[in-house]
Symmetry: C2
Subunit: 334 residues, 2 copies
């Protein structure tokens, strides 16, 4: 795979590199059509394709953006990546996808490698461990946006669900259905802001409605065990708000394992309308979040920055939407 360069094309077309470059970049201000034709056929004959690495070096632009997600196995991340890729592709950009696994060290490595590779911008679901790096980037005016989370005190445009609202809607829904004993269960990850906001909102709702809080959290692998203990101690709530998809998986495993009837024994409302919730038995009431739109908005913002438009670096909140299905019962009718 010997690489053909612009010099080869120039030689073959009997013109200079400059002219070929002009041709390639469609700077046609007065180029004779014979020259064009000669270059065009030289390119075809040699099957030439320009080297973007050289181009990037010269242009200081790689047409590539970096994505660092917390965990690609999260359905939300997949949808975010998909939306970014769609948008980037429409602008002839590519995306480098990195998995930080919620590990600040891994994330830090990725950040510096991506910068070293001169990506034109970065879209990140940040862990809470690299605030200083992010702050430095933001201060230096580096094109950077956050998705799903933001970092207190670091002024970076952020695109995420209105988490407080999400929990309010879920809580209210259950409360109106007659529940007083409403639990909240979620995966404990690194004190990510998303989780904290949801948890805080939950506690506030409990206060507001004057019911006592029942928070279950811990890392994924401990979830079923915790549920088991609540069952043993007869302390399970009558209704449960589930924080995200991965937590939901664990909850449903426990539900199956301990033969809990949904919704008769336990009503469930889960955050994120992932596909199987629709046809699950019973189908699950969820709060949907517009992941694709969030990703698109974030990407659009990043491209605005890349194009010199400098929109305010604020936190953009997206509206959650309640989708009622079968997993929440009328508590009075029980």
């Amino acid at each position: 795979m010997k690489h053909i360069t612009i010099t080869d094309v120039a030689r073959r077309a009997k013109v200079s590199k400059t002219t070929v470059s002009h041709y390639l970049n469609e700077r046609f201000t007065n180029m004779s059509s014979k020259t064009k034709a000669r270059i065009s056929s030289a390119i075809d004959e040699l099957n030439y394709s320009p080297n973007y690495v050289a181009k990037s070096l010269k242009n200081k632009k790689t047409m590539t953006i970096g994505i660092i997600v917390a965990n690609i196995l999260h359905n939300f991340s997949t949808r975010i990546i998909r939306s970014i890729e769609d948008y980037a592709n429409s602008r002839d950009y590519h995306v480098i996808v990195c998995n930080a696994d919620n590990d600040p060290l891994k994330e830090e490595d990725y950040i510096s490698m991506l910068l070293a590779k001169q990506v034109d911008g970065l879209i990140v679901i940040p862990t809470p461990g690299n605030n200083d790096e992010f702050k430095a980037l933001a201060d230096a005016g580096y094109p950077l946006v956050f998705v799903d989370r933001y970092i207190e005190g670091v002024c970076v445009p952020s695109f995420l669900l209105d988490n407080a609202r999400t929990i309010q809607i879920a809580f209210d829904h259950l409360f109106k259905k007659g529940f007083k004993h409403i639990g909240y269960i979620s995966q404990q990850v690194n004190d990510a802001v998303t989780r904290l906001e949801r948890r805080d909102a939950y506690i506030e709702e409990c206060l507001r409605h004057d019911v006592k809080a029942l928070l279950i959290d811990g890392d994924l692998s401990s979830i079923t065990e915790k549920i088991r203990e609540h069952i043993k101690n007869d302390s399970m709530p009558e209704a449960l708000i589930v924080g995200n998809d991965l937590t939901l998986f664990e909850v449903l495993k426990a539900v199956k394992q301990y033969n809990i009837n949904i919704p008769e024994e336990l009503s469930i409302i889960s955050v994120d309308n992932i596909e199987f919730t629709e046809f699950f038995n019973p189908s699950l009431t969820v709060i949907a979040q517009p992941a694709y739109d969030i990703g698109t908005a974030a990407t659009k913002h990043l491209f605005d920055v890349l194009n010199g438009i400098n929109p305010k670096p604020q936190v953009h909140r997206f509206e959650p939407e309640l989708i009622e299905r079968e997993s929440v019962i009328n508590h009075e009718h029980k």
Copy 2:
């Protein structure tokens, strides 16, 4: 964000670029410790990070590989990407992820752009539309591997499930449970080899067991409708083999919508052990495929090629595994 170059470091450390370069690449054969120290602190003070684009141009190596998947929303693709990223990361490589959407044109664009960006290798779930390009790449010795599919007549190392075996296992399982009327349902995509192999294996099994075939396929959006018609015509099979996750979603939507009892009215066995099948009601009997291992093997092979080891470009088959759960009933006991 003015970029600091190796020249700046050299100036600051009062040595030449060469020496800095040697330092960076740990070519320490006799470098005085004072020089090292001076360079080291210059780097720290300037917060220097090498420009990989320049390095790549010189080295003709970008430390980046391209992945083109048919559809990232497929759970299988996500797991493949994850495994590739894990492996690549451990070798300090990055991955550019592209979504061809099963569209040969989009795929072709991606191939040429990735080549222009000088990625060191390509891992592809190929559409059947760019055989010539792939053949040309393979013939030119370009590092390329396929995952999940392969292309007849194009000699590229391919890593995929033993599809025939998968269907045999599924069919045999149902047959042994007493079913004679076994259908196969799958999403129709572009005549990808995976789908063809599974379909052919199904037909062969029908012949071998002397039962008549009932094939349902079409694009995703038509699946529920087709099931509806079979119900209306009372031509639904008693057991169904489902080709992949996206098809399964549609089947389960129909099951829910038309109130089909699983497994009493319909036994189901699905290909790919995606997470929710385990706690679904009823839990679903599946044929698992080792997606992570497939991705890892493919990546390992690619890296072997990159390292000059040239393993045979053969088709590597991975063993499916039957996981019995609740969605298949004993037909005699019905």
